[in-house]
């Protein structure tokens, strides 16, 4: 028995958003009587953290604390339209729509504050803690809860804003095939180190080094989590997960349950080192690109290349099972 070590590399360029019949997301923001700012969306947070990121976008643009932002994604029947949470589009599309809505709401908020303080709205600024104050005279200030009360019960104004981000449909140029299918592209590469047991065919992923260029990292902790959690999923696709024998043989799709769907557990994770590079995208919210789906991609070919480097077996069908490794080794010996 020999444990063979190998190292492989793969890179990925990944589009943010898509372009079928046009790709829009809308946001509506309004202030409550108490100075909370409700961001109404139809965009669904699948657990990836969309609510956190768009709350950051709203708070930053309005100039108020995040605690005063309420994200409402309650109902896709009644909320402003969103194409959906897919294609790594949420942060980019929804973030842009929220920023646009927040700018409009901010203008009203400052105008209401200006009328209360009897100053010009152009001379006001937000301090980020919940106050609107006069530039150069910070003692002249009013809290957003008082602004909201004045708007509702005194001035008769709705502090609200509308936002939409639309990636328009782009048709290919017939002569060249040229088109503009996405908004920006994120880039990444992964280096994987594996160990192949030439007797059992078992592949162990020892280490992974990930580098991602994703525009601006709006929430660096969530970006790091997405990179390494996604890489785990890549390892899972590469050497564990399979829908066999239930798909396509005997079922419309999918494995029946978790008992029959193999995934790596906590003892089977590689040591990971990840680096984030920030090159802000001109059309992204504060420069962000999408980093959803791409994180599972590069690890798979990187592991395939590492297996080839370790033992000379070139595998092209996932998952890279012990059987497929052993058959590959047999074929090499026979050759």
């Amino acid at each position: 028995m020999t444990l063979l070590r190998g190292r492989g590399y793969a890179s990925v360029n990944y589009p943010t958003g898509m372009n079928l019949g046009g790709d829009p997301s809308q946001a509506i923001i309004h202030a409550t009587t108490m100075g909370g700012f409700v961001v109404t969306l139809s965009s669904v947070d699948l657990g990836q953290g969309l609510k956190t990121v768009v709350a950051q976008c709203a708070a930053e643009t309005l100039g108020i604390p995040m605690e005063n932002v309420i994200i409402d994604t309650a109902d896709t029947d009644t909320g402003p339209h969103c194409m959906g949470t897919f294609a790594s589009r949420g942060t980019h599309r929804v973030g842009n729509a929220v920023i646009m809505a927040a700018r409009e709401a901010r203008e009203v908020m400052l105008q209401v504050a200006a009328d209360e303080l009897e100053v010009d709205a152009g001379d006001l600024e937000t301090d980020g803690t919940g106050f609107v104050r006069l530039k150069g005279s910070p003692a002249t200030k009013i809290h957003i809860s008082d602004i909201a009360l004045a708007a509702h019960f005194k001035q008769g104004k709705s502090i609200s804003g509308r936002g939409i981000f639309l990636k328009e449909r782009s048709y290919p140029v017939p002569e060249t095939g040229e088109m503009d299918p996405d908004s920006c592209q994120a880039h990444a590469c992964t280096v994987a180190e594996v160990e192949v047991d030439d007797e059992t065919g078992i592949v162990t992923v020892l280490r992974m080094y990930n580098t991602y260029e994703i525009g601006r990292a709006l929430n660096p902790a969530m970006v790091a989590q997405q990179v390494e959690g996604g890489a785990w999923m890549g390892v899972s696709h590469a050497i564990f997960e399979s829908t066999e024998p239930y798909y396509p043989a005997s079922r419309a799709h999918g494995p029946i349950d978790f008992c029959e769907y193999l995934m790596p557990g906590p003892a089977e994770i590689p040591v990971q080192t990840s680096v984030i590079l920030e090159r802000p995208a001109s059309n992204g919210p504060f420069g962000a690109k999408g980093i959803g789906e791409m994180t599972a991609n590069a690890p798979i070919p990187a592991i395939a290349n590492a297996i080839f480097d370790a033992c000379g077996v070139r595998l092209t069908t996932m998952p890279f099972t012990p059987e497929s490794v052993l058959r590959g080794l047999d074929a090499l010996r026979a050759a």
């Binding site: 699948l46 657990g47 990836q48 953290g49 902790a221 969530m222 989590q225 997405q226 390494e228 959690g229 996604g230 890489a231 785990w232 999923m233 349950d257 978790f258 008992c259 995934m263 557990g265 906590p266 003892a267 994770i269 990971q272």
Partner: protein, 163 residues
Amino acid sequence: MTVTIVNLKVNGVDQAFMARPGTTLLLALREQLGLTGAKRGCAQGACGSCTVLLDGAPVVSCLVPATTVDGADIATVEGLADGQQLSDVQQAFLDGFATQCGFCTPGMLMSAEALLARNPDPTADEVNEAISGNVCRCTGYAPIVSAILDAAERRRNRVEATH
């Protein structure tokens, strides 16, 4: 169908509910006692998101018939915090960002609490084993394992400080 009255303690509070045969502990906790912290993931004991402590031992509550736990002491994630004061494990999960979508988190927390109650100074391998029945699809596990080791250290430091 025979209905059984089940008396038990949940998070230190006496509770009673009526259970039909086939009612699981998970269903009783969620639908009759309103404790929705334990999650129904696979409903067959494979994902661990329904993990609660039954007389101190972690169990997948989706596989425990409610009628068999009469007189038992149940601990769920709702009982971990003392008011606003999170448990060491909860605080370590929060500080170490050991969660993403959060669906597995209640089960992970309970498995971790059970581990630290019986083994205050676990190795990483022992943590891996303790949470091997809890599936996480977001984090890649590494931050969860780190958080549990961190929580163990916090607990040990707390014990030393009080001696």
